[in-house]
Amino acid sequence: MRYGMAIDTKKCVGCSDCVVACQLENHVPVGYARDWIVEVTEGIYPNLALEIRSERCNHCDNTPCVRTCPTGASHIIEGGIVKVTHHECIGCGACIQSCPYDARYTHPEGYVDKCTFCDHRIKNGQDPACVSVCPTHCMYFGDLDDPNSEISRLVNTRRTKTLAPEAGTKPQIFYLI
């Protein structure tokens, strides 16, 4: 079992519904966000190329954030999901420094927080909140180890990229391009 996401940059319109859905679902404190939209504009007017991406923790395979955590609060659970145990976190910020995607933040209560792939929802067979609300259905969540899953088929048949692969973290969110 290896959970991952595929996000179709050709379908994403940058509406930020995923951002709001996550904030509501996970009671993200006001002013914070676990996912966000990036717009990349390339070229010179009028010859422009646009890419829109919904980004979040990549639930990396090679996790610097887990490695540098001094207490073991940052850890990996079944399916490769990277989580933080709040009552073990001392708020030292080491994991924040080690994430190339700046996917983590300190919760106002002091512990570090981030995307959980909505593990409380997937336990019940639901998709993560962001995936389930996307009006263009540009996001796919599933098991990358299962060759017949929709996400595996997409990742294997479409051209994909990951973010900053040169940072060596082996991200598990694939952008279909």
């Binding site: 966000a33 610097p64 190339p100």
Partner: protein, 341 residues
């Protein structure tokens, strides 16, 4: 042209628009850790070399700073923690992959050893106490008691309980063994202050293995400057300003290598080096750290060794200030460097 922007308005405090999770606390912790590491290194080195008499400041007096600096450093670290009530969790596991973890353990090991080190020499350094009890003395009375003999310099004292005196004598007898334990720990502590940063691949400016040796040498240099400042013996002062001079040269050499390494590396590291080569940190780094904190004190020390009269406080203070600014700049600048947008 390429423009990458976050359009959903991510403004996580301390993360956006640029990462700024660590403030003054971490550089303070690194500076105090490096200074103590250097002081304990010299104390144990000259004990092992059986030079306690010649270099008594290094062995007996300067180490008094170490436990105080470590305690202040640990306080700074605690202030940096955003979930401090849970900080005891640092000491429920050892995670060798996490420098923060083994560094915290190293400090935990060095702290009692440095206190013991100070305690065995305290009656030699301060053989007499003032006749009139003052606040400090009142606190000290928890562990010391006065002996009867008294002269115009004050009253002799000794440790209050017999087990303390026995322990002190036992450690004093075994101080060479203790020095052998303390020396590697001091080196580990000194290297750790650099490795803490270089373990973060996500911050290109820190991600170089040179930072460990560079911070170690810088820590040793600040310690040598401190000893040079404190000592009253000419011989000791000359030795430590020579040592400091060598450390300054090694540091300059490492700094040149640091930038050569960056410029020959990937784009993100070239950009990181750019912060110091024309970018935001150019003036403070080259002006305050390299010229004011290394080259000027180096020249002053060389002049003094040549026989010119230079008040020793000047180069020593410059080295200490330069070392502190160096750590502040590295921590600040490192957090700005990144892989994406």
């Amino acid at each position: 042209m390429k423009e990458e922007i976050i359009t959903s308005g991510r403004l996580n405090p301390l993360i956006d628009p640029v990462l700024n999770v660590w403030h003054w606390e971490i550089p303070a912790y690194l500076f105090l850790g490096g200074l103590s590491a250097g002081l304990l290194f010299f104390a144990s080195l000259y004990t092992i070399m059986n030079k306690e008499k010649e270099y008594s400041t290094a062995v007996k007096i300067a180490p008094i700073i170490a436990p105080i600096a470590i305690a202040l450093g640990l306080i700074a670290l605690m202030l940096d923690l955003k979930h401090p009530l849970y900080s005891w969790q640092l000491y429920t596991t050892i995670r060798l992959e996490s420098p923060m973890s083994w560094g915290a353990w190293t400090l935990m090991a060095v702290m009692p050893l440095s206190v013991a080190w100070v305690a065995i020499y305290l009656d030699q350094v301060f053989p007499k106490v003032d006749r009139r009890p003052n606040i400090i003395l009142k606190v000290l009375f928890m562990v010391i008691r006065l002996k009867d003999e008294e002269d115009e310099n004050g009253i002799n004292w000794e440790y209050k309980y017999k087990w303390m005196r026995d322990l002190k004598n036992w450690i004093f007898k075994n101080r060479v063994t203790m020095a052998w334990i303390l020396m590697p720990l001091a080196i580990i502590l000194g290297v750790y202050t650099g490795i803490l940063l270089s373990a973060f691949n996500a911050r290109p400016l820190w991600n170089t293995s040179l930072l460990g040796p560079l911070f170690l040498v810088s820590g040793i240099s600040t310690a040598a400057a401190t000893i040079m400042w404190l000592t009253e013996s000419k011989e000791e002062r000359v030795l430590f300003s020579r040592i400091d001079l060598v450390m300054i040269i090694v540091e300059l050499f490492f700094i040149v290598h640091l930038f050569m390494g960056f410029l020959a590396s990937s784009e993100v590291q070239i950009e990181a080096a750019g912060l110091f080569l024309g970018g935001h940190f150019t003036a403070p780094f080259w002006g305050l750290v390299v010229v004011m904190g290394l080259i000027v004190p180096g020249i002053l020390e060389a002049l003094e060794l040549k026989g010119f009269h230079v008040p020793v406080a000047v180069p020593a203070a410059l080295i200490l200030i330069g070392g502190a600014i160096f750590r502040i700049i590295m921590v600040e600048a490192g957090q700005i460097t990144r892989w994406l947008y």
